[in-house]
Assembly symmetry: C2
């Protein structure tokens, strides 16, 4: 692992690191915020998965999360959203290929060679960070924005033993029924919808499994992509399942980081309550 | 004035606006955060002047100031750092020309035509924003980062009747004795150091005038540009003058927005106390 930068931040350290990933077969870059408490031993950790077009950097610099993580003594991890590199397949569209990994393991050419973001997030990167940093693997939460909210929800519901709490900002809630989803699921996974797509649809997973822990979801009423997000499908599934959850439609807010940062205090506080319990 | 964007943010609105500036002879873009309280009448306003290479956008998206401004019910203005446009003079160096206006009125060619940032910040933009938004001109504070900290300090000390409070993050403190200053002052103002440069040196102004109000200055001990900032000169001038001020060297912090955001809560709180008094 190579340290690209480390900056003092809210009494702790905001670092950026690079490592060779077995899952993606590429170098991967991620951001990690360690609060000062990590000097005395392992601290809880909150994963933040980012949305379309983002790298590890967007949320790290724009979401305002370090302030609240420092207050609660928890670490933050900001992974990249796809493999990178000249040899990595890409597409002219912003919503396929680089910056658009969708947190799944591609099975179709040309994506299968490197687009293994599910394994990267749940196996490869955890193995590295729990080995190198003072983080408590028994106290993990996960959140994300847009495509990253989709990733947070699908990963948490699939691996409830790994995450105590899950939240999301304006998540893609129902990709099997949306243009933010159908195109990518077909490109990455092929055309067997029932067999291969449903494991990556939060609304479907909510119907099938739910999540054994607290869940918080915020979406802005003025989100310009709300027709693609389909929060109504997930809300219906949550209520139908009687899932423990707080699902909020926030009046006037849109899809931007101005929305994310406005509610970051509450999301970090929500996870902190679960992780320190 | 043209509205480029408005986003709901911490209960208020983060807007970006464009207008034709008489001072610079160009279109200028700025960010303005209005807290929810502005719906009921004029609120205090804190100016944030940005550093080298920045536009109106950097601090608006990375400094984390809106959270605290909303808490205290004050507005934030994020001006650009120079005129922009294809016809505007520029230099290959990052620290001269576009993105490097140094908050002064240039007198030398080719800069004099558009680089009138002093007049833009103290006359042109205020006339616009106090006309268009619910802001209280009797309750203004000013802060900034690096070159913007230089601007905040020099403007506040020159126009103490206009600003109740001043603060700065890692400001350029003594540009007449620094490579972040001498080159630009000569290019913009000519070679008459004593006659024309000293009005733009915070350490000199502190010696000559000081500031009739509270002052807060933070600089990181690990600031990679600290030799160019020369905080020691300003600290000396402050203490020599017996100026009311809090001047802090923050252990371990560098020049980045990670530093700025770490102490934004305290800076906004500092101004709020003065502006609501």
């Amino acid at each position: 692992m190579e340290t690209l930068s480390e900056n003092a931040c809210f009494g702790g350290t905001q670092g950026v690191y690079k490592h060779a990933s077995k899952a993606t077969g590429t170098d991967m870059t991620f951001g990690l915020f360690s609060p000062v408490e990590a000097q005395d031993g392992p601290v809880p950790v909150l994963w933040f998965l980012s949305g379309l077009t983002c790298t590890h950097e967007n949320a790290m610099t724009k979401a305002g999360a370090q302030c609240w993580a420092a207050e609660h003594g928890i670490a933050l991890i900001f992974p990249d959203t796809s493999p990178r590199g000249d040899h990595v397949a890409d597409d002219d569209a912003y919503d396929l290929g680089k910056g658009a990994g969708f947190y799944l393991n591609a099975t179709q050419d040309p994506w299968a060679a490197n687009f293994q973001m599910w394994d990267y997030i749940i196996e490869d990167l955890p193995a590295l960070v729990f080995d190198h940093f003072a983080l408590d693997p028994e106290r993990q939460g996960i959140t994300g924005h847009s495509m990253g909210g989709h990733g947070a929800l699908t990963i948490a519901m699939t691996l409830p033993e790994q995450f105590r709490s899950v939240s999301a900002f304006s998540p893609i809630c129902n990709p099997t029924a949306s243009d933010w989803g159908r195109k990518q699921l077909e490109a990455y996974l092929g055309d067997e919808e029932d067999a291969d797509w449903l494991a990556h649809d939060a609304s479907h997973l909510m119907r099938q499994r739910g999540f054994d822990g607290p869940m918080l979801i915020d979406t802005g009423t003025k989100d310009q992509f709300i027709d693609l997000l389909r929060p109504e499908t997930l809300a219906h599934a949550i209520a139908s399942r009687r899932q423990q959850a707080v699902f909020r439609m926030q009046p006037g807010y849109d899809h931007s980081y101005f929305f994310v940062s406005s509610f970051m205090e509450e999301h970090v506080g929500f996870h902190a309550e679960a992780l320190w319990a």
